[in-house]
């Protein structure tokens, strides 16, 4: 069954595209970016580049050495983030970033493990893993990019698509209620719950740092403009971007029931939940092992 036309592997020079020079303000994060992979696959005006920048800044600010950071992404436009970061990175199957990260965290609890992926990836196909990981309170930093749609596959309905919104699979308007993500995360047991947009650099950065710091399940919903969503809903991309800046209100102590994203209503942002009393799952797992071994 051997493949006969196998050549022995010859060291071939790896055709790498030229490294992209970044403006001086990005000097601090440049070592963390695989700039040889630039330009990214993302559409012009997509919000994911901003998130990439802010996440890289958070790594720098975290004072945790880059080699102790791991990022796991699923499939989708957002899932490509792992591929642009110069840290240990995993691009796994659609929806499975959280279990994959759970395996890493249980095997190497000393690592700072983040999951960055799309709303469809984490909350639709991966929804079951999300609720259970939150319930266990495993120490993961989960960043969900909510662009209100499935971007990569051409704009289908997702579990965060607003009611009434048009997509390829809801051409007459979405009939479903979207998830209220912060409420869901809280109800399932997350230790830290926040919502920001990609435009709120500083607040988002601080939220990511908080997620690193908290030893438990942290969820940050990040709202991000998507050209596909704009197009399907007859919006100009600029209008969508403006909407995410002008329709948003910061209210850290907002009741979670009020956080549903609804057409024509303000979108509430903030760091809503921070609770530190629950032990993290990997800690409890290790404690049992230690106890059994009399350590």
């Amino acid at each position: 069954m051997e493949f006969l036309n196998t050549k022995t592997y010859e060291e071939e020079s790896i055709a790498m595209s030229k490294r992209v020079e970044l403006p001086p303000i990005y000097k601090d994060i440049e070592p963390l970016l695989r700039t040889e992979r630039f330009p990214t696959i993302w559409c012009p005006a997509c919000g994911l580049g901003l998130l990439l920048k802010t996440f890289a800044k958070a790594i720098v600010k975290s004072e945790i050495p880059p080699e102790k950071h791991v990022v796991v992404s699923g499939i989708g436009c957002a899932g490509r983030i792992a591929g642009y970061l110069r840290i240990d990175g995993y691009h796994v199957t659609h929806g499975r970033a959280i279990p994959f990260a759970t395996g890493i965290k249980l095997a190497k609890p000393e690592l700072e493990v983040s999951v960055i992926s799309g709303d469809g990836d984490i909350l639709s196909i991966g929804g079951n893993h999300f609720i259970h990981a939150a319930r266990r309170n495993i120490d993961l930093n989960v960043i969900i990019i909510n662009n209100f749609i499935y971007g990569m596959t051409g704009g289908q309905l997702g579990s965060t698509t607003p009611k009434g919104a048009k997509t390829m699979t809801s051409p007459y308007g979405n009939l479903e209620e979207p998830f209220n993500v912060p409420l869901l995360a809280y109800a399932c047991g997350a230790s830290f719950v926040a919502r920001w947009t990609v435009f709120h650099d500083t607040q988002l950065l601080n939220a990511i740092l908080k997620a690193f710091e908290i030893k438990g399940f942290s969820v940050i919903e990040v709202l991000s403009p998507c050209t596909i969503f704009a197009e399907r809903n007859n919006l100009k991309m600029l209008e969508l971007i403006k909407m995410l800046r002008t329709r948003t209100r910061v209210k850290h102590d907002a009741p979670l029931e009020e956080l549903m994203i609804e057409p024509d209503k303000p979108i509430i942002l903030g760091n809503f939940i921070e609770r530190r009393e629950k032990p993290s799952f990997e800690r409890s797992t290790l404690d049992i092992i230690k106890k059994l071994r009399g350590e």
């Binding site: 592997y9 790896i14 880059p66 240990d88 995993y90 691009h91 499975r96 095997a107």
Partner: protein, 379 residues
């Protein structure tokens, strides 16, 4: 010095003991009959030995947690049965593509769907080989007794670590729940994962197609990039080029197939002069062995080939068996899957009889095989 410890174990317990001896330090699973005792055993024993035991929310989570843990440096096993095995398939494909060491035990029960959860079957042979989409290969081992469960689980760990490949161990409910005396070695040698010596040694490329590339450890600054998409030797995605994909697919394929001498094991009995032959694996081989002895005592020259490795497969022993035999019988607890290999191997150089039987926990009895062989030979 290696000591042997005697114990009286079921196949499922033997799988767990074999894994522990092989240094398994991470078990993740989701309960399913008839595999659950493996999980129960590991839940009890693994934490005492410093390992992590974890029950996931489903088998899709299970396989992905297992792969993540393996990249985290753990020696990982999971066990399941038909429906769970089906759910794991996408993940197994990812493990093959990303060259992740891992042992997956599938305790076969009657299917499709929920079928008969507590009853034995051998109908997952093709799923074990071909359950994933795309071109892919993962070794499949098939013990026939609790003793062999220990031996082949140890072998599975050794192969998976050496070749950076998930290895599937296929048993059936009869083996899982039969209890026999076993001898457990006090220690075994499992190859240590090779790390790249320096950055020139790429994590997804190897100058020798028989040798797995080194596996960079996590958290030590190798900045490894791992993807299930087509990638070059550095791990960088390349989902456009023919060359990159073809080279990767062939390397992953050859990594297993070119090691066939190391991977392929079988047992042959009486094939020098057999007039009637059997090809078998797993629990059914126990009836075949008995039937051959009974036939010989009646003056009928019977012989068998028992496959301990189901994939990658060498057809030579089957061909050899067929050279002498007038007919080859393939008894299976399914409607016939192994028989397809026999057909492929021997064409029409001997008569091939598929003897499939499945459901209700009915084994294939030696007496049935004796009767069938006698009839086929007209004796």
């Amino acid at each position: 010095m290696i000591n042997l410890r005697r114990a009286f174990l079921t196949g499922n317990e033997a799988i767990a003991e074999g894994a522990l001896v092989a240094g398994c330090n991470f078990y993740v699973g989701y309960p399913i009959t008839p595999s659950s005792e493996i999980m129960h055993y590991m839940a009890r024993e693994l934490p005492k030995r410093g390992g992590v035991f974890f029950q996931a929310e489903d088998e899709i989570a299970t396989i992905n947690i297992a792969i993540g843990a393996s990249w985290g440096g753990a020696r990982v096993m999971t066990a399941t049965s038909g429906p769970g095995f089906s759910l794991m398939q996408e993940g197994i494909g990812y493990a093959i593509m990303t060259e992740t060491p891992l042992v997956i035990v599938n305790v076969m029960r009657v299917g499709p769907a929920t079928g008969q959860a507590t009853k034995s079957a051998q109908g997952d042979l093709m799923q074990a080989r071909w359950g994933r989409h795309g071109d892919q290969v993962a070794p499949v081992l098939a013990p026939e007794s609790p003793q062999e469960c220990i031996e082949l689980v140890i072998k599975a760990f050794a192969i998976s670590e050496e070749l950076r490949v998930p290895v599937i161990v296929l048993i059936d409910e009869f083996i899982a729940h039969m209890r026999e005396v076993v001898e457990i070695p006090s220690e075994v040698r499992i190859p240590i994962r090779r790390r790249p010596k320096d950055p020139s040694e790429t994590p997804f490329g190897s100058p020798d197609p028989r040798v797995a590339p080194p596996m960079p450890p996590l958290g030590e600054g190798y900045y490894v990039l791992v993807t299930g998409s087509t990638h070059n030797e550095l791990g960088y995605r390349d989902t456009r080029s023919f060359e990159t994909h073809f080279k990767l697919a062939k390397r992953l394929w050859n990594k297993v197939w070119l090691n066939i001498d190391k991977l392929f094991e079988y047992e042959a009995w009486g094939i020098e002069d057999s007039e009637i032959g059997f090809v078998t694996f797993g629990s059914t081989s126990r009836s075949v062995r008995r039937a051959c002895k009974l036939l010989r005592s009646k003056g009928i020259k019977a012989g068998y080939v028992r496959l301990k490795t189901l994939w990658p497969l060498k057809l030579d022993p089957i061909v050899e068996l067929s050279e002498k035999s007038r007919a080859v019988i393939v008894p299976e607890l399914s409607l016939g899957q192994l028989v397809l290999d026999v057909e492929r191997g021997i064409g029409d150089s001997a008569k091939i009889i598929s003897y499939g039987k499945v459901g209700g926990g009915e084994p294939i009895y030696p007496s049935e095989l004796v009767k069938l062989a006698s009839k086929v030979l007209g004796k």
